[in-house]
């Protein structure tokens, strides 16, 4: 495959992911509305919001990092997409593997932080106290989520003897019984629980905590900046789901499968969020140090003997 | 209650005792002993809870009447200590040392009536209105309507109606006025 074709496929994939992210966000809102007995927003509302936001006439800037923060965030989302093999087509040089030849699971794991870093820097330059509070909470929660998640990732890497996401997906092909969900249930359980923290929905949404600390890190962002952040958020949500899909649920062999699986993964966190109220930060940190951490240890212990 | 008041009458020159309810009495004392009486009630008679403090503008007499309402949580009784102060250059001894919440009441009275409480902490700060330059707005001689009309661009053509009258006219224009009087008689 030529580099141009690769680039074309990648851009197309990015477009699909962005729009699917918006649609998924709208669906989440819609589900929330239906649970509350409301009609809810129209499904195209996110696009309208984006359009409105990037068409504001006045914008402010607090300084360079305020500018660059959203850029970091969006680059974080796009980069995550670039390093992730999206659809398994049987060949590593396939059309939807993006630039995953450049790095493996570890790269993806650490590149997740890139977006968060941008958010932190941009929000910091805004000088708003609530932004800083949100970031502090986010970082604490991230560290707590990271521990069980890392254990589960290591467990999966031991299981397949590789860090390559593509190879992990390939090893899960050939039927539902080959999924990590069944072949390595402890790691899968760890990821399924820790995922809730990574997705950042209730009960782990203290980072944003609307109406308590306004909207957390994004408090000072408006207009185009906000539009960028929304886009990045959509991409990141899809990519988180794709990551967990690739690691635990056997990957996807076509876009329809990807959409169905990511929807279900996403729905899991939405479902939990509908049921449980928000945790305080010390509660969420200790929560991850209990059951998910224990499961993560089990996932490793069964492979260390 | 009665015993208590009688016991204190001599020492604090209490006059004008009103026994409102079995557990509520109002006494009037001269300006100079009001704070002493409040202190006495707090420290020796168990009226440890400061309920509130308020002011009435007796413009005709040229007086402000201050009221300190105290509560005894053991006997569940209340005593209101009233005192009159001059309306001109109104000034009263501060009671901020007795309860901290008195600060706020005195700040309010300073703003609303212009009564000064020398020594009370933060007494000069804004309480409800910000940047008020007129006469204290709760004094009866302050003409709020005139002030509002001069200041806030009243919308021309605004009419004021008696709501009952207006609704009757609008909703039941043909019915005679009978029911209202009967209601009142009952």
């Amino acid at each position: 495959m030529t580099i141009y074709a690769k680039l074309g496929y990648t851009l197309l994939g990015l477009l699909i992911v962005l729009n699917w992210g918006f649609l998924m966000g709208a669906t989440f809102r819609k589900i929330g509305a239906r649970v509350a007995g409301r009609y809810g927003i129209p499904f195209y509302q996110p696009w309208l919001n984006l359009l409105k936001n990037i068409s504001t006439r006045t914008t402010i800037t607090h300084g360079v990092m305020y500018y660059i923060g959203p850029v970091f965030r969006l680059t974080g989302g796009i980069g995550l997409f670039l390093f992730m093999p999206m659809v398994f087509t049987g060949t590593v040089d396939g059309p939807w593997t993006n630039f995953s030849f450049e790095g493996d699971l570890i790269l993806i794991l650490y590149f997740q932080v890139f977006g968060m870093l941008g958010m932190a820097l941009g929000a910091g330059q805004g000088g708003h106290p609530y932004s800083a509070m949100g970031i502090a909470r986010g970082l604490a929660q991230h560290a707590a989520v990271e521990l069980p998640l890392t254990l589960a990732f290591i467990s999966i890497a031991i299981q397949f003897d590789t860090f390559s996401v593509y190879k992990i997906v390939a090893a899960q092909q050939g039927g539902i019984e080959n999924w990590v969900l069944f072949t390595n249930p402890f790691a899968a359980a760890t990821i399924i629980l820790a995922m809730l923290g990574a997705m950042g929905h209730s009960p782990f949404n203290l980072v944003k905590a609307p109406n308590e600390i306004l909207i957390g890190p994004a408090t000072e962002f408006e207009g185009t900046y906000l539009g960028f952040m929304q886009s990045a958020g959509s991409i990141l949500h899809v990519m988180e789901a794709v990551l967990f899909m690739n690691l635990v649920f056997g990957g996807a062999s076509n876009w329809i499968e990807l959409i169905v699986k990511t929807f279900l993964i996403y729905f899991w966190s939405v479902f939990v969020g509908m049921v449980f109220p928000r945790f305080k930060i010390e509660q969420s940190v200790t929560w991850f140090f209990k059951v998910p951490l224990l499961l993560g240890f089990l996932a490793i212990i069964i492979y260390s003997f | 209650m009665k015993d208590l008041i009688e016991k204190l009458t001599e020492d604090f020159k209490i006059s004008d005792v009103v026994y409102q309810r079995p557990d509520l009495a109002f006494v009037t004392v001269p300006k100079g002993v009001a704070i002493s009486l409040v202190t006495e009630l707090r420290d020796f008679e168990g009226f440890s809870h400061f309920v509130m403090m308020s002011c009435v503008d007796w413009i005709e007499e040229g007086k402000f009447q201050l009221l300190y309402l105290l509560h005894n949580p053991k006997t569940k009784t209340d005593v209101g200590v009233k005192t009159f102060i001059d309306r001109e250059n109104a000034e009263m001894a501060s009671a901020h040392h007795l309860w901290k919440q008195v600060w706020t009441y005195q700040r309010e009275l300073k703003e609303a009536f212009g009564i000064d409480f020398p020594g009370s902490p933060r007494v000069d700060e804004n309480f409800v209105v910000e940047g008020w330059t007129e006469m204290p707005h709760m004094r009866r001689d302050f003409n709020t309507k005139e002030y509002s009309q001069n200041t806030y661009f009243p919308r021309p053509g605004r009419e004021t109606n008696d709501p009952a009258e207006y609704m009757r006219k609008k909703l039941y224009p043909n019915e005679p006025i009978t029911a209202k009087k009967q209601d009142n008689d009952k």
């Binding site: 809102r29 509305a33 007995g37 409301r38 009609y39 809810g40 927003i41 129209p42 509302q45 309208l48 919001n49 359009l51 409105k52 936001n53 068409s55 504001t56 006439r57 006045t58 914008t59 402010i60 609307p210 109406n211 306004l214 909207i215 994004a218 408090t219 000072e220 962002f221 408006e222 207009g223 906000l226 | 413009i59 005709e60 040229g62 309306r87 001109e88 804004n126 409800v128 209105v129 910000e130 940047g131 008020w132 330059t133 007129e134 006469m135 707005h137 004094r139 001689d141 302050f142 709020t144 002030y147 509002s148 009309q149 200041t151 806030y152 661009f153 009243p154 919308r155 605004r158 004021t160």
Partner: protein
Amino acid sequence: MSEKDMNDKVNEMLQRSEANVKKAEKSFIHPEDEEREVVAPDGSIIKVNPIYDYFSGEKPKEEKPCSGIIEKFLNWARAESIWVLGFGTGCGSIEIPPLVTPRFDMFRFGVQMRPTPRQSNAFIISGYLSVKTLKRVIRTYEQMPSPKYILALGSCTINGGMYYDSYSTINRLDKYIPVDVYIAGCMPRPEALLAGFTKLKELIKEGKGEKANEYARNFDEYKANQKKIIKDWNMPDYNW
């Protein structure tokens, strides 16, 4: 005391207290906002003016709409995505929460609440507005990105309503900030609010939602009115 005597006395006191007030007229600068000096690490002295140093305070400019079909398209998007600031300024704010309940459900109209003015484009002035709150309203309104819309709720914002003679509430909101839609009533029901939103959407789609520009155009006039009643002005002329 006869009635005449009493009137005389009252008049006399009125005159005297006016004199008192004039004598006691003071500048309303909070101690925190007075100019102060701080010592820099190298020992030099820095003068700080808390009211102006921290703010950009530049006057707003009129922002030209895009032309033709593009503006129409953008207006459609703006109309369908109204983000309301969650700021209840008066008693009418109690009418807003029902809007998110299943009975009224404003989300289906593309209306939703937002906690920060930076991300909102509509502001509901809900009912009576005291001078004290007006200051906060002005600040918040100015911080919202343009284009922005004001819905004024209840008769108090129109002509003072039942508080027309109060010393501390304003009578006409449009003298201080431009209003897009008035929703009459005391109080208007949530249905009326929804009707107001529909009206606002119509206005926006017709290209009439340009009140932010009007504010910029008549900025001095608005500012003069605002400053007339807000005596302890402790902010820059325009809050970015």
